[in-house]
Amino acid sequence: MASPTSNAAGPYAAIDLWRIADGCLVLSHRLSEWMSRAPTMEEDIALGNIALDLLGQSRGLLQVLGDEDRLAYFREPQEFRNPLICELPRGDFGFTMLRQLFVDCWLVDLWPDVAADDTVPAEVRGVAEKAVKENAYHLRHSSSWVVRLGDGTEESRRRMQEALDALWPYRGEVASDRWYARIEPVLTEATLPMPPRDAWTQRSSADGWHTEHLGYLLAEMQSLARAHPGASW
């Protein structure tokens, strides 16, 4: 049975597809929590679009890694390999957008790597090629909101600064030199000074360690499939 524990890296190269698949799945669920609650109707639809893009990206990988329904609905929290930042509660809109920026800056360089990696199956490269365009738009969307809110009113700036302080310790699993190079200009334009690169960071979920929040998220996400196994509609 395919699972991250029995097959940590997969047979493919250096790219950890489990981390991408689970990250996209968990973040997609967090974004879906905004449905009917976003600040405007237009943004409600935008968040829904992004959530569905991420869900599609995750499904594309899970279908290659095993049985997508079993992997999404019948794994326990410690079997998930998503970056911890994806499972943090959605917070306010500013927090959601800054978290999105952190993850977008990670995926926007990761997907092209996957698309160009001929050691991964062709289906995975196909998923990646589609995802490259989707994530380019996600990054544009989250960047413009972070700049708008950071360089906005006194209250929006205060909230963005709080979000940055809260999220910075969770950058470890998504950050790299190119990640810092992408995010720094956005933060600068948003008048939010980038915290030090060598500041303390959370450990990763690679060993099954998660925040307390993932269990609650999965309880909601998995409840229907577990109450009615094999149900279809």
């Binding site: 405007t40 237009e42 943004e43 639809i45 738009y137 544009r140 969307h141 413009s144 708008r148």
Partner: protein, 98 residues
């Protein structure tokens, strides 16, 4: 009408050019604080099913509209000018390729 209306973001009219269409057509409107956000919102709201290859947004406030009260004098006179329609004319038998 007692409470003042909540402050709303400005309205923008959205025009799309479809894949096979020749010109942009009006499809609806979005709220946005500036042009950049209006384009993004229009993209998210109106192009989810591949409807467009190009988007125009125009501040609704800049559109000058005809007065509905002028409808009769503006448009009714055209109704009786049937000779303005090509179907009014009979094509002579000798004319080919029309």
């Amino acid at each position: 009408m007692s409470a003042p209306p909540r402050e709303q973001w400005p309205l923008w009219e959205v025009f799309l050019r479809s894949r096979n269409g020749l010109h942009h057509q009006h499809v609806g409107s979005v709220h946005a604080v500036d042009a950049e956000m209006a384009i993004e919102n229009a993209r998210d709201v109106y192009t989810r099913r591949g409807e467009a290859v190009s988007i125009w947004v125009v501040p609704s406030a800049t559109i000058v509209a005809s007065d509905p009260a002028d409808k009769d004098e503006l448009f009714d006179p055209a109704l009786s000018k049937i000779y303005r329609h090509p179907t009014f004319y009979e094509v002579p038998d000798g004319v080919a390729n029309i």
